[in-house]
Amino acid sequence: MNERVAIVGVGWSGFRPTTPDVSYKELMYEAAVRAYEDAGVDPRSDVDSFVTVAEDFHEGTSIFDEYTPDQMGAVLKSMHTIPGDGLHGLATAYMMVRTGHFDVVALEAHSKASNILTLPDVTAYAQDPVLNRPLRFNTHFVAGLEMNRYMYETGTTEEQCAHVVVKNKKNALKNSSAAYGADLTEDEVLDGPPLSWPLGKHETAEHADGAIVMVVASEEKAFQLSEKPVWILGTGWCNGSASLESREWGGIEYMSKAARMAYSQAGFSNPRGLIDFAEVDDIYAYKELQSLEALGFFAPGTAGPMTEEGFTQPDGLLPVNVSGGSLGVGYLLDATGLARALEVVLQLRGEAGSRQLEEVEVGLVQSWRGVPTTSGAVAILSN
């Protein structure tokens, strides 16, 4: 077994609202070439196995794994696909290396959301075909219900949610890969068009295209390949109730379970004080607050006030979504968690440019698979 596993190379392409100039294969290829260059590996000879993350309906292709090997340099190699979030892919690569049978595994996730002409219809097809689909729920409508319940149970205000948008979009202005950086005020966010009250349009991440590739290696290989390996201290993931009818709408216990799994691997009893910064789910602004509470950073109902007080600003005690998050970078569908992980890797390597945080040693990544799922994943990384 390989106890310790590190990320030794990262590469990405994007992130942009549309990419008419490149296909998804070209996006993947660009990211892969950069990651292999960064790790100093040749995929044909040095990578033992490959993992991609994709969902058929996002790709418009059934059994999409068919179309993954060529642009990754993985033809006639061991490769498989995880229909999950990028962090599920990272957890998979982590497990594979830990078995001791694989020394180097490459991992890919991408989004070509701009190709999907009817994305709201596609996402609505994730709902139960018998019980929910006849009711014609819009995806954002379900999110609005959850936001309403979360605010009701915790006393979180609309202003506090809007504050997340202001912070993350401002952070994105310092991220050259971010597609949706903006300098907004809280009032501008609140005065924007509503989607499903209390959820507003500005509090919902816009889609972006891009691809991310990471190279993951065993301890021995990591020291050979990289001067700045980023260690995976723990990964956790968990599902809650699949059905809308039987879930708890205010809290997200599955996310707490995922976090506890990751913390126990990392040897943390509590994230507070041990984790220097976090990149968390903010597909909808309220999710950042709800997630931070589920992860154990804040007691229920306190993430909002702490955000307003600047606790999660880049110069605060717990910087959250310094990259800009999904609200600032863009919502990358199945690649979302890996985009958050990318920022943590860059920060831990000291390569985050003008948004570099000082003296960071441990970062947390968390993601959610979106409506209507209760599927969350967490990873803890360290330099």
């Binding site: 969902e55 059934s62 090997p69 229909p83 497990m95 078995t99 993931w237 968990c238 599902n239």
Partner: protein
Amino acid sequence: MGLRKVAVVGAGMTKFVRRAQETAKELTYHAAHQALQSCELVMDDIDGVCLGTAPDSFDGVHMKGEYLSDGAGAWGKPYIRSYVGGGTGVFAPIQGWYHVASGLFDVVLVVAEEKMSSYYPHAQAAFLTIFDHTTERPLKPNLLWIFALEMNRYMHTYGISKEDIARVSVLHKRNAVDHPAALLGNPDITVEDVLNSEVLAWPVQRYDVSPVSDGAVALVLAAEHVAKRLTDKPVWIEGVGWNLDTAYWTNRDLAYPRYVEYAARMAYDMANIKEPRKEIHIVEPYDPFDYKALHHLEGLQLAERGEAAQLYIDGVAERNGDMPVCPSGGLLGVGNPIAAAGLMKVAELFWQLRGEAGARQVPGQPRRGLAQAWGDLMQVGTVVVMGR
């Protein structure tokens, strides 16, 4: 630290049927429930769940893995779905294997499900969307056509007759008579019946092909220290292998599945198998079409190229032969709910190696077996070697 050994300790499956009344969720539930019962565990004993299921388009549900999660037992548990097209059924236990071998999990539930009948009028249409959107989809190909190309190429390259290939279908459908979950067992079928069946896409005829089916299969996998506590008869996963070839299948010589060979070699290396023909006692190659069983036996290095049919002619492949092939009845006999069919093969090895296969039991207390699946655009091979 050494490598962690992983055992299969329980298995369960639903009947394979043409049109299940149960929903996809219910099918996964029934298989998972049976697998747990077989080793006297309950969901609280399960650390994580792995799901294998192929295209979302069968059910018309986006993120089908999330939809199936509660049926498969993943409520409140770590849960990841994997897929490699038709190879998924044998990949799912590989996914379970790396969960346990990583040291993060001690007991994992592996579930594979397919409900093809939801696709109306016929599941074949779902496969239109597996082809390249620019170069192939406008030609409206379907799977029968491309496999007819492959079958033709295989027959032409090695001079194999339709009669010899039909023997595969006959043996598997006869074997399936003894499988309580089988859809197409037939004790009286003959080579002539296969050759006289309706032509679908020459040289593929009705009885050369496995049926569209619904069903689910589940296994319980455990780490060594738990497995020994749970059962006196753990079946160890000794080797795993998988391999994916280029998406540009039209550039490939279809006569020989190189990707299956590479997957097999990966598994043989892990299992420390030097002479597979002597060391593998039962083989469950993937047989959605009769010629595929032959094709795969060659890729698996269990027969010389072009000579796998001889195993059937000489009786080696029969249940009491030297190397029984598909004693379960295979996809041709038991049925082909895609991912579930692959996992059914692994479950069959589990039962055979424990001596629990009932009327299907292979004589001579077999010690080691191999299951293999195949899929995508004639592109992926997945292999599991198990032993007791």
